[in-house]
Symmetry: C2
Subunit: 228 residues, 2 copies
């Protein structure tokens, strides 16, 4: 079965999609440090992923290496970048200029990779007209006309309580194809729309669980606490 067939029939597993940015990030770093060549074994060592898995992940998309040599860092980085969709620009609107919204707007690395925040909206009238990262903060009432006049790829939802599902529906109805959700709620979207959830609290609760799990195990099982 061809790579394209496999992809069409089964889709790319979530695990693979989750690891692609990890590879990309590390390849960027290697490239910055002028490393020219890397093997799947070396990659695996650095990222705590098995070499077999790395090769298997890559094989969903093609053959990027050379037997007996490994991978050329710059080449592999370029290929994975293309797979991730980094060869074009994305226009994003940010809804919510609170703590998280401001951090995202000021973060330079998104724009550097082609993800531009082109408009910012907030329901707080006190913020209206203020500048944030070079954008005027607009009232949410202007969102609809803005979306009708501008093609937007991604909507970032960083409003803590109000709106949420309704806001998401509104963005989708007005042509936004991707939602990046920071609000602490599960959003339902139609099949053709993509949602990425970034729930900081969930991450912290997972950390909390594992802290206690570790404590529990090393409490009960002394031989385990010896392991490196």
């Amino acid at each position: 079965m061809s790579i394209r067939d496999k992809r069409k029939l089964t889709g790319i597993p979530d695990g693979v999609i989750g690891r692609l940015p990890v590879y990309y990030r590390y390849l960027e770093e290697l490239d910055r440090n002028d490393v020219k060549r890397i093997s799947s074994a070396q990659l695996g060592e650095a990222l705590e992923i098995t070499a077999a898995q790395i090769r298997s992940d890559f094989s969903y998309f093609g053959s990027f290496g050379q037997q007996g040599y490994g991978y050329r860092v710059d080449e592999l980085k370029k290929q994975i970048g293309a797979i991730l969709g980094l060869s074009r620009e994305y226009r994003m609107v940010l809804i919510g200029a609170g703590n998280i919204g401001r951090a995202l707007a000021n973060y330079q690395n998104f724009a550097r990779r082609g993800f531009k925040i082109v408009a910012i909206f907030d329901s707080n009238p006190l913020l209206e007209g203020n500048y944030l990262a070079g954008c005027v903060i607009q009232p949410v009432s202007k969102l609809e006309s803005y979306l009708k006049e501008n093609e937007i790829d991604i909507g970032i939802i960083a409003t803590p309580y109000e709106y949420r599902q309704e806001l998401c529906d509104f963005l989708v109805d007005n042509g936004v194809k991707g939602i990046w959700n920071f609000s602490p709620i599960h959003l339902n979207v139609p099949e053709h729309v993509v949602v990425e959830h970034t729930h900081l609290t969930d991450n912290l609760l997972q950390l909390s669980f594992r802290l206690n799990e570790n404590a529990l195990i090393s409490g009960g099982f002394d031989e385990d606490s010896q392991k490196e």
Copy 2:
């Protein structure tokens, strides 16, 4: 095999751990809205998870429901909260008072759940002495003495480039048991320490990949774009 045996032998699967905070968050919302009772089918409907998986997840920890009735919302919330380790407080230090660091420090929901930022450090001398969310920003040179004098559970690494692995090692050497890493690098830690990675860029790149994957599939396969 008892629940406790199962847990000890195999550990809890990552998927389960990842879903626990999702359940918890939704139960909080139900509780706020005075919902008293919920079935695994209803939970699954709202969260796009199968009912069987939800019941299977819960069964790693015990039996919290009643046949023919379902789950009492307040009770289940309490139980999952306890499993997540929310019955005690956690003391956290924040390293890095940049965009993300400031957003985290100002975010009220961590403290509300028992996760307190008790000290903030930054390597930028211009920030030294400024207040952030009620904490003085201290120079990183004071971190060592601070950790020796105070028991800290979690270190939040929100420094974009400098330090990173070295900083992580330093925190671990000084007794920190959990690391919440926002820097764009993979951190290696000893077995007894827990790392949680929150890489915002990775989330955005995953969204980017899926946007293109969807476009690709509906481009090639018109019958697919008909699906709801």
